[in-house]
Symmetry: D2
Subunit: 418 residues, 4 copies
């Protein structure tokens, strides 16, 4: 991404043959740091030798289009095709300019060559695992690379795939975007719950302390997630990820919740006991594989972009409707004109609520989600829809975790516990 | 470096408890890209939520103080001490502010933990080699990490160390800074020459074509490098790195040059024939180890900074004198006040000339070098002296090499030949 | 305004005793030039000696709060009170900072001393006229100074006051803001129409050429303006400002329009024949003074701000409703908190349409006006409400009028004809 | 100046037909305010609708080229010719672009039409005086307009002209630039001294208190000014502008100084007693008119620019030599290339010292003046030479005078006493 930016600003500097309008460059540089001061910058300052002045900015590497398209690309040819379709901006005449117009594709692919190979790592017990690509689930599509999944399917009988940030973000995007694009459709769905989160969604701020009443109220949130899984044609296995502070009475409430709905339930003690602790869950999942299921994306690709957003907002989030800002309306019009109508959408939304308001807990109703911007990502092959002013480059808090981290004389890192 | 910057801008954003003056932040962010448009930027724009507006910029990662101090640090304790001494800027009252004042040291050390371990790689023939740290010789001190050298000395009888960019840059810095700081003093010095470079320094632009006259003239340049090695107390072995376009007559000229001066000479055919091709040179180097030598840094650390610069400029570059810009004079005064007088200096100078003017070839005389700026690097433990407007973040040329690079369908990189 | 800005940036530069947040400075500098490049700037660049970096901008002098409050101030004491209440921004803690906090009031008043005295000029026939203060009717309240009106009332039996930009802008603001604040209530209202404008509002782009059909359609626009005058308790005199291209048939249409409604009508030939040409109109106006009228502002000052805006939008513009952008909602909330609820509003709206969309002609219906921002002007004593993205610093067109202007050798200006 | 800038940025915005490089625009906007935060700005921010981003800045109106050329222009034709020759910047290819290329001349002349007419005002006693144009003597050529002088010569037998800031600035520029350009050569020269300034130049900071020793030492400064007048071919009349704090003994020292040198001396009590108080001086000046004098500019116009600067620095300032910064050397080379070699020079230098160091008092010797920049002003008809980092837009002090100024209820300004 930064190579592409450097080539772009060099193109402007060296005479701007393509007639690219410096005010209409969309591309952002990428950085792996929570650094809000880089969100909006003026670059190319200092006079004639130092580039052309323009407004620009950085986004988190995991939010960049390159990260997204690396995850979705099938092979090098597909990778290059997708890199070439990254739109960098517009000419003075309003014509879109793509990475391929800058001649950047080959060099970008060369830089990404090693990164494009899935990383095979092992768990503490020696089991193989692929950790490859990390597009965040709130600001991108949220799952590891299609290539890693395919490699894994060639190596094992059962492959477990994480789809980050609950059913409103990770699952929705996996089903509507990743599974559809790659053809890798799941056989079963596991929904992981924690007592802590249920207390939180039941309105309890002190979620470290047992509070069965709060858990009971919080189950409304879990119920919506169950329904969301069903929307896509699956009956989920409910897995409880236990914490030492969980009360038995609270766990019993979740188990009862599952039984009432005829859903399988298992406590997964992997964290405390290793793979031993996961046996019960594993068996329940194997059983679930034989259950009937019918993979069903929520919207047809031919639907208009507004309809796709509305379907997700209403059916998955439980919203009453969708409101578009003026800027978003303009961006929508431009996206249609550019031929992005038939792409799936990727919602950039707060992860701590089913709604786009990060402070609404439980199962919110009667809310309207607000689309603030929209961007067509031809390289990634989807349209990003921004809700509620979400930022793609976070800032550090008043007391950054970094201030607590240290390294001792032997090189051991201290202060990383959560 | 970017973590430190992010912590710094976050500190400004969160209320600026230290009273750091945003106009006097010295720190630059680092990037691994020739991207001139990032040299001078205004960051923190966009209003209250996006940091505090200030002028800043990027430099090449290899030019950053972190790269330099990683190379020189002995162990984790030393690393942390040095990180803590990075000056980030000044308060409104003019008091210096260091990385340790921002509480950044532990987290920076944690991020660098893996990078601080020397990389053991192997050559095409399976010989071990350490490739660790790359501070460029023109803008930093130019040698690999002290830790890697020490590891190597524990593993082998003979350790060869590269000190990039000829005797005016790599050797001078190795002798005056690295060897002095680390105590790792060399036993012999090899000076590598090429016929192409001799033609170039003899005034020939078409240096791919044989031109014995030009080589003869170019030997004046080599002679100065020989003298420079002698300044530090060694008699160099002259090694010729041959190219297919070298004419026998030209090689003979270099051999004669060495013999006249009583210096050992060898053609090193490692590139063409592998280790076999290096046997002659290796034997000459082993002989050289038994020659008398007396390591001798050029200046005492107690000398004033101006005197150090003048010594290097006159004795190593062959300059007539040194001229300081107003800005450099101010910076010199500030550095003295800050207690940097007793540090060694690292010159940031053009690599293509013995002088600070990149276009002067051969053995220039009668020139005055121009100091344009000076910066005290307490973490690295030296003072960087900038000459002739050298930039620490290069730009791309009109036709970047990147435009020729490609990856084929099997993932093989093409177009990287020079 | 620029003195206040200079004092403000000097305050930031000299230590910022008030703790003013550079990111929350609201003040803009003023300039008398259509210069879009000054709308959004970063200033204070260049290092420690040159101020504190921040985002800022310019607006047209006629849009500045100083121009507005000069027009409304009754005397020097009132002027100083109003100057002191100009809000310049907020502290880091969110407390508002006013011009009086910067100690700027006395010097600003001194600079304005001469400008605060009404200018008595004479017409081509030697009649006295005051030309004093020019807040534009689209972006400010649109009438000359209260002081000038008062002076005029002391000097003549009848005083004619212009209230720029039709009944939706000039009249509405005169009635709701100026007359209410100053107590200077009119005795009669003259509504000036042109055949050209009626053709334009009837859908004709070539409005220089007779087109009775278009004029007939355009009368719908005039009808709405008549109704607007009646809203405030007056029956207007319709004055036609004739052009050589008017067809008799067209003029007859307007006369018939007036008669149907029982309104007085007169053609005012002042432009062609001087005061002679205005006799008919003058007589009609004198008659009109004896008609019953009842001055009636449209909203009580105690009404909430939203209600004031809605009243104007629906009753005066004929809108269906009002939509507030997120930014405007936030600004509204802040304004209420700051105690601006009881102030009258001044709408910043396009002048070429009754709606906020400059391209809608005639008498638009069924439209919703969009509030994009809102600013509390305690010095001026009103709240500015921005609609449809109107800019307070215009830009020059592709072919600026300036390129046609010249001065001959005797100093006569050429090329200013419209 | 601001019209020209607006036309320029509009030209960039509307497609940039001339190919003007936004990084090489030299023009600054002008403002009448000590506002350091406007010295260096980035303008044209905010996206496509708001101009083209570039670095720019403001200078004081009195430092602008328009002010200078208005002072020197003879008539409207000359004014327009000079306006057209203002260089605004360079194209991407390095070709200079002038105001006439932007079509800006006519409109600029029209805006300046009234300002180009000399203002006839009257003194407290009713004597006529022209106050017209105010280019500051430290940063411009320092005298009123040639047109005003010519008008005055047509109206009175004797015309007194002020040439601001002593002989090193005002006189030098009047003689070398204004008198030569306009042909208006003076008949006599009056040198005005104050006891306060003599104390200050004698090393006394408390210059309000009598100190004959300091006055005696300070006479070295006056002596140099006398010599400077003689350099141009005149014997000055020494006028003392008395203050209530002057001691008789101190005044006697100045009188004795004049007598020793055979110079006429008079105390001018105009401030205290009106024209009555000026009778003695007036008589001495009338006598001086009959003294032999020979107007002699210091350098021929054909001399190289360096020589002109050196002549002024050595002969007028008493400097040992001149040092040129790298930037100034480049600017000098460019100026020669552009055909400015034959223009006179206008030095921008500190006004509080004969040297370019504002803190050196008395008659400094042995100093070297430092040229930091140079700018060819084809419109004004001279080359501005910047010394010692002088700024053309001052800043306000810690406690601006503005904070003490007020206006009372009757509109009287208070707090303007010095």
């Amino acid at each position: 991404m930064n190579l592409l930016n450097a080539l772009l600003d060099n193109h402007l500097h060296q005479g701007n043959e393509l007639g690219l309008d410096p005010r209409r460059v969309e591309l952002k540089r990428a950085i792996d740091m929570n650094d809000r001061a880089l969100r909006r910058i003026v670059l190319g300052l200092g006079g004639r030798a130092h580039g052309v002045p323009r407004e620009g900015g950085f986004e988190l590497t995991v939010a960049s289009e390159v990260m997204a398209l690396m995850s979705l690309a099938q092979d090098f040819a597909d990778l290059k095709r997708r890199l070439g379709r990254i739109r960098v901006g517009f000419t003075y005449e309003g014509k879109p300019v793509y990475a391929e117009d800058l001649g950047a594709v080959g060099a970008m692919a060369a830089l990404l060559k090693q990164a494009f190979l899935p990383n095979l790592v092992q768990t503490a017990e020696g089991n193989p695992a692929f950790v490859h690509m990390g597009p965040f689930g709130n600001i991108a599509h949220g799952t590891n690379s299609v290539r890693a999944s395919r490699f894994a399917l060639g190596l094992a009988d059962y492959v477990v795939q994480e789809a980050g940030f609950a059913t409103d973000l990770g699952l929705e995007k996996f089903m509507n975007v990743v599974a559809r694009t790659s053809g890798l459709v799941p056989e079963a769905v596991v929904l992981v719950a924690t007592i802590r989160a249920l207390r939180y969604h039941g309105g309890q701020d002190a979620y470290e302390i047992p509070d069965p009443k709060a858990v009971e109220r919080g189950l409304a949130n879990l119920a919506k997630h169950v329904e969301n899984v069903e929307l896509f044609g699956y009956r989920p296995v409910i897995a409880l990820n236990p914490f030492p502070t969980d009360a038995l009475e609270e766990v019993a409430l979740v188990r009862a919740f599952a039984e009432e709905r005829g859903l399988t339930f298992a406590v997964s003690e992997v964290y405390a006991k290793g793979s031993e602790g996961g046996l019960e869950l594993a068996e329940k999942v194997l059983e679930a594989l034989s259950l009937p299921h019918q993979y069903r994306p929520l919207y047809p690709l031919e639907a208009p972009l507004e309809a796709k957003v509305e379907t997700i907002a209403k059916e998955v989030y439980g919203a009453q409707g969708v409101e578009w800002s003026e800027e978003a309306k303009k961006a929508l019009k431009a996206a249609k004109k550019e031929g992005c109508e038939a792409l799936p959408v990727v919602m950039a939304k707060a992860a701590t609520s089913l709604s786009d308001n990060p402070r609404l807990r439980g199962r919110p109703t009667g809310f309207t989600v607000r689309v603030t911007d929209l961007r067509c990502r031809l390289g990634a092959g989807f349209v990003v829809v921004y809700m509620g002013g979400i930022e793609t480059l976070p800032g550090l808090p008043k007391l950054p975790q970094a201030l607590k981290i240290d390294v001792d004389e032997e090189g051991n890192i201290r202060g990383m516990d959560y």
